[in-house]
Amino acid sequence: MFAYIVRRLLATIPVMGVVALFVFALLHLTPGDPAVLIAGELATDADIAAIRAKLGLDQPFHIQLATWLWSLARGDLGISIFTNLPVTRLIEQRLEPTLMLTLTTLIVSIVIALPLGIISAWKAGTWIDTAVMSFAVFGFSVPVFVLGFVLILVFSLQLDWFPVQGYTSISEGFLPFLANITLPSVALGMIYAALIARITRASMLDVLAQDYIRTADAKGLATFDVLIRHGLKNAAVPIVTVIGIGIALLISGVVVTETVFAIPGLGRLTVDAIVKRDYPIVQGMVLLFSAVYVFINLLVDLSYTLLDPRIRY
């Protein structure tokens, strides 16, 4: 097991290496001069030269690459062009809202999706199944910001149940935090819930067709026990896999959700950086989000042994 973890950790190095090279290449494969693009239309020659020096674009190519990789290895993501602050510091400041939003979304989606998927598989072919699967197609088709707007419109503007926008830190009280985070979590969680419900149904359908389920049923176990302890437990591996892969949807969605709900997190930082063409931040965010994605999927792989004792590494 330990050897396997080490091997898998080592295997992420080439993947992240490709990401790092790609992020580096982004700035250099730009058609035209990136410094001109970043500086904007009103920039003077001196401004452009300053940006070029700041990004190290005046250095020879191999020096740039070496500098980039060396600073990455030390955990240095460069300095933001507009705020003059280290990108790592900016990330630190914005981390909490995004982390909380992702966690609550994860909880909301799983709490909605698992029961729906299980019931849908249990009642396969009935109107309940059709309804749940229609919900899944709907969840895939309604973009997160559309859902966000609808939720704000109904629950904030019309019913006045939740604040319209913004974020309150959990340190300022749990209830205000919850009031602010609920709508964004539901908006962001819908597509994710659709994905999880779909795979839960598919995976449960496979398991429920097995002989041991019939046995469990025949010996008079309660339906709940059959579905959860015998069914869900054996259907868990594909579900957890999709939860891991679906993190990509969550990351993409965070960028949009934070814009709709005016949450000062990493997504908002990314969007602002793109509008201002603050390139070190964009590079840092792509790297960070990809690293998180790769790492979570590594954890998912490792979790298989816990979920299914037959899987050994």
């Binding site: 490709v18 990401v19 973009p143 419109l153 792509v286 989000f289």
Partner: protein
């Protein structure tokens, strides 16, 4: 003997029309396809559907709610939301189909190469693994950040972001086909590599690619709207659904109707493409369809 016995029952059945039979067998394809066709017609005939110039600014008629003259109301610059939404259909369809076509063709080429040439496989698939670990929307955003905003660049950025998944799909198909007896037979009979690819491999990639291409189209439409919405997509001068929503974001509390109409159009369009994709998957791959 058996055949003659069966004939009357077969003949007695086809009372229902052909249309109904197709509808019953592939409802998703028919429903999705019909909606999509309507939307395509809207895109083509946008100039004739009671629209005015979608860019025409008239400050005197700002922020009118939907009414007889302005079916979807007017925005903060007095532009007609009905016209802008209808013209927005063009952007969404062009980007969706364009990105799907580009990603499919690119993925097919790369998939064939990686499936047949081992040294290229090692290099290309490592690159694809890396690209795949960057969430697609984020990758498209990053690409848009370094180029000028234009529809063409949006299509290219989204296609690149979707490329790894298509490549992987084609590679998988090629790798399993390569071991099939009919491909071995072709090789044994002296068929060249190029000919084997065209005659034996390519036709078998059509079905999965068609399904995948539809899904790429749906997600490209959403990604375009996201890019425009956060200000990194279609240039603001062109009325796209994402742009309309992005402009109305700051005045959402008073002018939410501006956001509603493009939202509904976008959701219905994406839904129809997804239905079409699900229907084609069901029709082309019954084994998978039963599981999903």
């Amino acid at each position: 003997m058996t055949a003659t016995a069966l004939e009357p029952t077969v003949a007695a059945k086809p009372a229902e029309g052909r249309v109904r039979r197709v509808l019953r067998r592939h409802p998703k394809i028919v429903i999705g396809g019909t909606i999509l066709l309507l939307i395509a017609l809207v895109a083509i005939f946008a100039p004739y559907l009671a629209t005015v110039d979608p860019q025409k600014v008239s400050p005197a008629r700002r922020m009118r709610w939907p009414q007889e003259l302005y079916w979807f109301g007017t925005d903060m610059m007095g532009r007609d939301v009905w016209s802008r939404t209808l013209y927005g259909t063009r952007v969404s369809l062009v980007v969706g189909i364009g990105a799907a076509a580009l990603a499919t063709v690119g993925g097919l080429a790369l998939g064939l190469i990686t499936g047949f040439i081992r040294w290229a496989d090692a290099i290309l698939m490592r690159i694809m693994d890396g690209l795949m670990s960057i969430p697609a929307v984020l990758l498209a955003i990053a690409l848009m950040a370094i180029t000028q905003a234009s529809i063409q660049n949006v299509i290219i950025a989204i296609a690149i972001a979707e490329l790894p998944r298509v490549t992987r799909l084609v590679r998988g198909v090629v790798l399993s086909l390569r071991e099939q007896p009919f491909v071995e037979a072709a090789t044994a009979a002296g068929t060249g590599l190029a000919m084997t690819m065209i005659r034996h491999i390519l036709p078998n990639t059509v079905a999965p690619l068609l399904v995948q291409g539809t899904y790429v189209c749906a997600s490209a439409m959403i990604t375009e709207a996201i890019l425009s919405f956060i200000g990194a997509g279609t240039p603001p001068i062109i009325p796209s659904w994402g742009n309309i929503m992005s402009e109305a974001r700051s005045i959402f509390q008073v002018g939410w109707y501006i956001v509603v109409f493009p939202s509904v159009f976008l959701s219905i369009t994406v839904l129809s493409v997804n239905l079409l994709g699900d229907g084609m998957r069901d029709a082309l791959d019954p084994r998978l369809a039963r599981r999903m």
